[in-house]
Symmetry: C3
Amino acid sequence: MKLIMSIVNGDDKHGLTEALKKAGFQSTVISTTGGFLREGNATVMIGVEDARVAEVLNIIRDNCHRRTQYVNPLPPVMEPGELYMPNPVEVEVGGATIFVVNVERAERV
Amino acid sequence: MKLIMSIVNGDDKHGLTEALKKAGFQSTVISTTGGFLREGNATVMIGVEDARVAEVLNIIRDNCHRRTQYVNPLPPVMEPGELYMPNPVEVEVGGATIFVVNVERAERV
Amino acid sequence: MKLIMSIVNGDDKHGLTEALKKAGFQSTVISTTGGFLREGNATVMIGVEDARVAEVLNIIRDNCHRRTQYVNPLPPVMEPGELYMPNPVEVEVGGATIFVVNVERAERV
Ligand SMILES: Nc1ncnc2c1ncn2[C@@H]1O[C@@H]2COP(=O)(O)O[C@H]3[C@@H](O)[C@H](n4cnc5c(N)ncnc54)O[C@@H]3COP(=O)(O)O[C@H]2[C@H]1O
Ligand SMILES: Nc1ncnc2c1ncn2[C@@H]1O[C@@H]2COP(=O)(O)O[C@H]3[C@@H](O)[C@H](n4cnc5c(N)ncnc54)O[C@@H]3COP(=O)(O)O[C@H]2[C@H]1O
Ligand SMILES: Nc1ncnc2c1ncn2[C@@H]1O[C@@H]2COP(=O)(O)O[C@H]3[C@@H](O)[C@H](n4cnc5c(N)ncnc54)O[C@@H]3COP(=O)(O)O[C@H]2[C@H]1O
């Protein structure tokens, strides 16, 4: 058994959980925040037998499209008098960052 | 050391963390959402020495009762003109879905 | 690759993610609740190559200061007629509780 933690763009979470459901996978969604943009995103947690991990990764690939957007990163904590000249950064958002972790033991009670 | 991720019904989270506290276990609660019902539930995270994993699993069993309820699953994303005839589904809720993960290294700073 | 789950005081989360960013580490923040105080805290999730785990742990140590505060733990579920005499407890908060978990496979799609 593996636990897949997939950090995805908030806009993609419903599409992803719907696609997982159709393929017979259960999932749990955690509302999370990105360390850089400090915007809301989502971490989708999927417990799945080892043999079906590749299938879940394909569903994530199909449902989480990477795209570019321009943003001003939030100002860092500043010393008084420092001027913050936001330099819009082109960031790629969407897509998914996926961590697959081994499950020693899984139970349903 | 193991990290126990236990997804439980939102109504059971206080009872569970209270029972864990009484038995000397620390825990952290994450508000989560089920992939199917899209209702709020809770994921209780418990870091515990290997030798006491079974004790924690017993506490989860005792505090998370499985019960049935009738629900209309949320309408899926639909094509225009499609009619959605919700078919109430009898689902079992409550209970707990538990993933036990190995901790390579634990620290308190 | 390791996934570091670091439960920190809510007041320390921005300082920590900022320091991680400056050192070139990405992170994701989960709003969580402590099982004992039932106050909001934060779980910072950091996926990092094995070779840089120690560096991340140092950054957490530097940015999460342990301090003492007096609190009344929330009343437990009580029988009718029982009197709750809150006994202020001196608890140490701040600091960080860190679990390092092995990642079998990491992907970006
Ligand atoms: N210092 C920097 N300079 C310039 N651009 C930067 C940057 N740090 C991040 N970015 C860009 O901003 C996007 C959003 O990052 P954020 O940290 O808000 O949101 C992240 C974070 O919540 C999570 N994430 C990614 N890698 C992670 C890791 N190793 N550990 C934990 N969370 C991670 O996935 C979300 C999306 O990451 P993704 O890499 O696709 O997309 C990132 C990346 O393209
Ligand atoms: N396609 C489907 N058709 C008919 N009934 C369905 C269904 N998918 C789920 N159900 C039923 O609905 C209940 C709630 O599912 P939900 O996804 O909202 O909430 C789930 C989800 O958040 C989590 N969960 C369960 N298995 C998981 C897994 N393998 N990975 C991640 N999260 C899981 O635990 C919660 C409770 O799960 P539990 O199995 O006890 O209870 C499930 C199950 O009895
Ligand atoms: N039964 C008890 N009697 C007296 N004092 C008690 C107590 N249980 C906890 N405390 C104290 O209260 C602080 C806050 O605990 P809380 O559970 O709200 O918030 C915790 C919890 O969310 C998390 N945590 C700590 N150990 C954990 C574990 N093994 N598993 C999961 N989460 C853990 O880290 C937060 C901070 O923990 P930390 O140990 O630094 O700080 C703890 C501890 O000093």
